[in-house]
């Protein structure tokens, strides 16, 4: 098993390397430097600025220095749009808010999705099953950039129940977290249902019935435990969707998180910030996939010997 884990950890290194290469070279091959604004800057000043930000050096060297800075000091470099703050300051200010939002959304997705899927599978082909399946399709079909406005309209503008914008009290967090978690909850519900139905047809479940075990024991200990294994595999991709989902949700609800800052920096073409935040998000997503794979090896003995 340790060989599997080691191999999996080593494998994520080239992935991170490729991500950093793509990010760096895409952002640096955009024609026109950050100081080519509409306002003409004197040549000497531009040259000085470029020297200060080391833009006058060859590209491979810039890449080496940049990635070395990240690996060595976790230094993501300066921001071009806001001269007073570095990319590190920006990450430090905005990441905690995004992390809170993501954790809340993940809790909502797992807390509602998995039970919904279990109930649907246990009550297969009843109205409860149909209702939960319908709900799951609904959740999957309304993307956050539609669900967000719907929720704002109903709960903030019509009913005046909840506030929107900013990130202060728990009331502020309800609508964004639901918007971000709804689609994932629907996905989990569908997956749990399908996986549960498949497990319920297995021979060992029939054996358990034949042994005369009580129903709750069969459902919980024999069926659910095995049914959740495939559900765990999607946690990695799910995490990725939640991270990229924060871009939209934070933008819609005017939450001062890193996702919103990322979208703003795309609008400003602030390449160092785009680069730094992309790398950070990419690192989180790759790390989440790694953790899920490793935990999978612990949970499912069959995977260890592959």
């Amino acid at each position: 098993m340790y060989r599997f884990i080691l191999r999996r950890i080593l494998w994520s290194i080239p992935v991170l390397f490729i991500l950093s290469l793509i990010t760096f070279f895409l952002m640096h091959s955009i024609p026109g430097g950050p100081f080519d604004t509409e306002k003409q800057v004197p040549k000497e000043i531009k040259a000085n600025l470029e020297r200060k930000y080391r833009l006058d050096q060859p590209l491979w060297r810039q890449y080496m220095e940049y990635s070395w800075g990240i690996v060595r000091h976790l230094d993501f470099g300066p921001s071009y749009a806001s001269r007073s703050r570095t990319v590190n300051d920006i990450i430090k200010d905005h990441l905690p808010v995004s992390a809170q939002l993501g954790a809340l959304a993940l809790a909502i997705a797992i807390g509602t999705g998995v039970p919904l899927g279990i109930i649907a599978a246990l009550k297969q082909n009843t109205y409860i099953d149909y209702a939960s399946t319908f709900l799951a399709i609904l959740g999957r079909s309304i993307p956050s950039l539609a669900l967000g406005p719907f929720l704002i309209w109903i709960f903030a503008l019509k009913l005046h129940l909840l506030p929107v914008a900013t990130w202060e009290t728990p009331q502020h967090m309800i609508l964004p977290a639901i918007t971000l978690g709804a689609a994932e909850s629907a996905l989990l519900a569908r997956l749990t249902r399908a996986s549960m139905l498949q497990v319920l047809r297995e021979d060992y479940i029939r054996t358990a019935w034949a042994k005369g075990l009580p129903r709750p024991s069969i459902m919980l200990r024999h069926a659910l435990k095995n049914a959740l294994i495939p559900v765990i595999t999607v946690m990695g991709p799910l995490f990725a969707v939640i991270i990229t989902g924060t871009f939209i949700v934070e933008y819609i609800f005017a939450i001062p998180g890193l996702g919103r800052y990322f979208i703003t920096s795309i609008g400003n073409r602030d390449y160092p910030v785009i680069m730094g935040t992309s790398l950070l998000f990419g690192f989180f997503i790759i790390a989440a996939n790694l953790l899920v794979d490793i935990s999978y090896a612990f949970i499912d003995p069959r995977i260890r010997y592959q």
């Binding site: 994520s12 024609p31 503008l157 871009f247």
Partner: protein
């Protein structure tokens, strides 16, 4: 001997039972019984009609507006109101169908084409080629998809800005991109990652198919590799592969809406539902209809695709029902 002969003699008169229709006809029958799937199909048909005949259905052009009429409320003159530039919202939503459906269908087509070619070559030649090609897929799989698409779109959108000197290839591509309202770069962005799952699927199918005797027969008859892949292997897996890919269309529609929402999608004034939500968003407190109607159009379209897609999957794999 005698009973056996009687049985064979009687066989043709036995009425054909349900199992004899073949899997596709069976699936079609099951699909027709699924009310939600049929409803989804009908809505999709209407959307396709709306997209094709948009100039005849829409009351006005998508770019035509008068500033005196901006933020007009829904009423007789503007059925769903007018946006911040006084453009008819209904017309823009109808034209927006074009962008969403085109991106969805082209995205799925590109994923299928690239995935089938890549997966076929990898599975057919096997050995070291297969190993390297699949390691590359694994590598790409590890990358965060949407983030990659965003970076690619930032690159294209920034490089093709007017007045920016970039290499001639990008310039040529951006001419094509402009001609179709900015959708071309979206196609490229989606195509860079969308083919990965398909290539794995196709490779798996090829691996099992190429051991079959008809491939051996074709080899003995002197058929070229290309002929074996295109004439003997492809028809054996293309059907299910296309069905599998249609289930991904909603994803591509969401990606387009997402990109247009953050300003990397289609070029204005080309209407995209994601872009319209973004445009209307600032005035949402006073004019919520400008956001809600495009959001509804997007949701209904995705709902229709998912109803039909789920029905299709259940019809082809009835055990899961």
């Amino acid at each position: 001997m005698l009973p056996l002969r009687r049985q064979t003699a009687e066989a043709p008169t036995v009425p054909r039972a349900g199992g004899h229709r073949g899997i596709w006809a069976d699936a079609a029958l099951r699909l027709a019984k699924n009310k939600l799937a049929v409803a989804g199909g009908i809505i999709l048909l209407l959307l396709v009609i709306a997209a094709i005949f948009a100039p005849f259905i829409a009351p006005k052009g998508y770019a035509e507006g008068s500033l005196e009429q901006n933020y007009a409320t829904p009423g007789k003159r503007y059925l769903l109101g007018a946006d911040f530039m006084g453009r008819d919202l209904l017309s823009r939503i109808i034209y927006g169908t074009r962008v969403s459906l085109t991106v969805g269908v082209v995205g799925a087509t590109l994923a299928t084409i690239i995935g089938v070619i890549y997966g076929s070559i990898s599975g057919f030649y096997g050995g070291r080629i297969d190993n390297w090609m699949m390691r590359f897929v694994d590598l790409m799989y590890g990358l965060p998809t949407l983030l990659l698409i965003i970076l690619i779109m930032v690159y294209f959108r920034s490089s093709s800005l007017v007045g920016v000197e970039s290499n001639p290839v990008i310039k040529a591509l951006s001419v094509i991109d402009d001609a179709i309202g900015g959708m071309f770069f979206i196609f490229i962005g989606i195509a860079t990652t969308s083919w990965l799952t398909m290539s794995r699927l196709v490779r798996g199918m090829i691996l099992s198919l190429k051991e079959q005797q008809f491939v051996e027969a074709a080899l003995v008859a002197g058929a070229s590799d290309f002929r074996i892949m295109s004439r003997h292997l492809l028809p054996n897996f293309l059907g299910p592969v296309i069905v599998a890919e249609t289930l991904n269309i909603p994803n591509y529609i969401i990606i387009e809406a997402f990109l247009s929402f953050i300003g990397l999608g289609v070029n204005p004034p080309m209407p995209s539902w994601g872009g319209m939500i973004s445009e209307g968003f600032r005035g949402m407190r006073s004019y919520p209809h400008l956001v809600l109607f495009p959001a509804m159009a997007l949701s209904i379209t995705l709902l229709a695709f998912n109803f039909l897609g789920d029905g299709l999957r259940d019809a082809l794999d009835p055990r899961m029902r």
